[in-house]
Amino acid sequence: MNEFRKDFLILNQEVNGHPLVYLDSAATSQKPEQVLEVVRKYYDFDNSNVHRGVHTLGNRATDAYEGAREKIRKFINARSTKEIIYTRGTTTSLNTVASAYGRQNVEEGDEIVITYMEHHSNLIPWQQLAKEKKAVLKYIDLEEDGTISLDTVRKTITPKTKIVAMTMASNVLGTINPVKEVATIAHENGAVMVVDAAQAAPHMPIDVQDIDCDFLAFSGHKMCAPTGIGVLYGKQELLEKTEPIEFGGEMIDFVDLYDSTWKELPWKFEGGTPNIAGAIGLGAAIDYLTNIGMERIRQHEHELVAYALSEMEKIEGLRMYGPKDPEKRCGLITFNLDGVHPHDLATVLDMRGIAIRAGHHCAQPLMKWLKVSATARASFYLYNNKEDIDALIEGLHAAKEYFNNVIE
């Protein structure tokens, strides 16, 4: 898998006098040359607005922009490009579902079901919607190992439930959730299933028809594409019935003084000049990932996480969160070293050129559940290798020793 490292020029540098070890891909991934080149070429030769100009550049830009949409459709196996809406990212996608579909379909007394492991992006929109509509926000409790039991899911979702929103892979616990099975339970109760795929889309194959989810959200920047571009997938029949929430240029069909009509899907949800270069970059990122193969990426990360888990287990005083079984996890490990605050740990690792995340990871209710205020997190991607993990392990030993000595 190291063959792909060369595509990421950023990795070829020293940080604080050490070769960079980038273990923060769950926050944002690095971008390969193949993606940067496509974005550069667009600006160099085709830059123009989409769906407006009748000139050649306008056509080229539109073709590339819509071509990327088809790549995304194929990537998640949606039925039609009408179901693929460009957004700024996962947060905007989920907010759009809550503000558009949610606000139009949830009423007082209805239930919205989420889990304790949601990222704030898949929590606050539902919390606020529930407050506004006087609906009931219910949490699916977690098992001790940070997984979700379908029995608990069945007990939490009821015929009153209108929306079930769940992450496909947790950005803290690493847990991969049974979203397909949960979607079935949601549908049996007449609810729609919303999937937050921010940590899943970059790392494993996704088939929205197989999951049978109603909405699914992910970001480009966590999967080798530029920042500021993301996707909202929605079933066509639901999107057709949902009114847009952003009005203005690009999304209109006909405007009269006192009323207007909207373009058809997917454009009715894409008000304003879109992130054209971002969309094209996301298309290029999908080409890049698909050429490698999502199964292969998943397998590679699985091997890394299994190796890291077994090595980290040997470090005394290191606590890891989430399922112990690597089969149940995606490629990230969240942990704490006894007596060392995660920020302090992150600083020590940074001095060795190792980039990890420390903090609450935008999952404060989950931190409460874990009974910690913050954690450290190492996350892997296709460009990481065993040496990166060895560097992390050495760094953790060094940090432990350093703080033991400095404290005495």
Partner: protein
């Protein structure tokens, strides 16, 4: 930069304050209470100040955070106790200048006592907010008191 550079950040006195914080706890609710957090990393502080006739008679803190944020709070409560409010604010200004990496003369450094150990934080931009959290809380508390 090697691990030795960390010694600029983690001076022994900082780790001592982290391990054995001074003035940890609460004053009763009649006093000025301030809650502050650093939303980017989740550090939080609960500070209570007893201010009488323009003098900070007592200060206590509780909170959760890294060694830098908690030791800074411990040192701050220690140094402002018994000082006039204006003196406390002046110290906050000096501290803030120190965090920005400005030259501080020997005499002023002496005045800062243990706090001078935090000077190295200015070389770690990601950690400056940790060090200033308690000070921001104190400044907010003083303003609250003035408005009363």
């Amino acid at each position: 930069m090697s691990l030795n550079n960390l010694d600029q950040l983690y001076r022994r006195v900082i780790m001592e304050h982290y391990k054995k914080p001074r003035n940890k706890g609460y004053l009763d609710e009649n006093n000025v209470t301030i809650d502050m957090n650093n939303p980017t990393c989740g550090d939080r502080i609960h500070l209570t100040l007893k201010i009488n006739d323009g003098i900070v008679e007592d200060a206590k803190f509780d909170g959760e955070g890294c060694s830098i944020s908690m030791s800074s709070a411990s040192m701050m409560t220690e140094i402002i106790k018994g000082k006039k409010v204006e003196e406390a604010i002046e110290l906050a200004d000096i501290f803030s200048k120190m965090m920005l990496g400005e030259e501080i003369d020997e005499e002023t450094l002496d005045e800062l006592g243990d706090l001078a150990a935090l000077q190295g934080v200015s070389k770690f931009p990601a950690r400056i907010k940790c060090a200033t959290l308690a000070w921001k809380a104190m400044e907010k508390g003083v303003k609250q008191q003035e408005l009363k």
